[in-house]
């Protein structure tokens, strides 16, 4: 019998879901509301120098990579099941497209994190 790839995608979905549940709200608040408005955080908190230092730090790279990739795999896996709720008949090709999109985004994150030095 062919091995199922379900555990892999379910683990990525679960890992992303857990990360989003624990840190998602505060991340969105900081990067999307607090810093842009200077409300509860300094507007300079996400200055070029600060974010560059984060992306050039080993632990910072891992954190950025995990957030981007796990959020992408979590979101795309769930959206793949979500479209079915709107009456769209899902096919293996669509599954490959949704997971492939997350994989491409992850690859882009990896390349960018290496290129940033």
């Amino acid at each position: 019998m062919k091995r199922s790839n379900k555990p892999i995608f379910w683990s990525l979905f679960g890992g992303g879901g857990m990360l989003a549940a624990l840190f998602g709200p505060i991340l969105v608040f900081i990067t999307g509301i607090a810093v842009p408005l200077g409300l509860g955080a300094s507007k300079d908190a996400m200055s070029y120098q600060n974010v560059l230092a984060l992306a050039q730090n080993g632990l910072g790279k891992i954190a950025l990579f995990l957030v981007i990739t796990l959020f992408l795999f979590h979101g795309c896996h769930r959206m793949y099941h979500f479209v079915h709720d709107f009456g769209v008949h899902v096919t293996p090709a669509m599954k490959a497209a949704f997971h492939g999109f997350a994989a491409l985004g992850s690859l882009a994150a990896l390349v960018l994190l290496i290129r940033v030095g």
């Binding site: 679960g14 879901g17 998602g24 709200p25 990067t31 999307g32 300094s42 908190a45």
Partner: protein, 132 residues
């Protein structure tokens, strides 16, 4: 090949008929916001590699009204995600036994919510501590 099963039951608006289904759709719909948020961060990383000018343009775009509206909605959706994620946790994880007794569902749900609050506070404190 003869065409069989051509009838498709209409699915329009089925989630509006029952609040339980509406919340189900909110829960699943959070995935769209999680994905878009990841793409916003990925864009920021890409702009970062292009230099200060490009990165500052990305930061300025975050302060635009449409980005702010998106992030306020996303914050609400992420909070919904957190609540629903721990609500279903007793069903998605194996039974936990302490001293031969199964840990009650509500204890698992509460532990998850407390963990989320602790992570949120810790992250914010560390963020304020390391940034000017």
């Amino acid at each position: 090949m003869p065409a069989i099963k051509t009838y498709k039951r209409p699915v329009d608006g089925w989630w509006r008929r029952n609040p339980f289904y509406t919340w189900y759709m909110v829960r699943e719909g959070s995935s769209v916001f999680v994905t878009v948020y990841a793409l916003i961060l990925l864009t920021g990383l890409w702009r970062l590699t292009q230099g200060q000018e490009a990165f500052d343009a990305w930061r300025a775009s975050l302060a635009s009204p449409i980005a702010l509206v998106f992030h306020v909605l996303a914050l609400w959706m992420f909070i919904m995600h957190t609540l629903s994620w721990f609500k279903v946790m007793p069903k998605t994880m194996p039974f936990v036994r302490i001293g031969g007794k199964r840990v009650p569902d509500q204890t698992i749900i509460n532990a998850g919510k407390i963990a989320a609050v602790v992570c949120t506070v810790l992250f914010y404190v560390v963020f304020l501590w390391v940034t000017p």
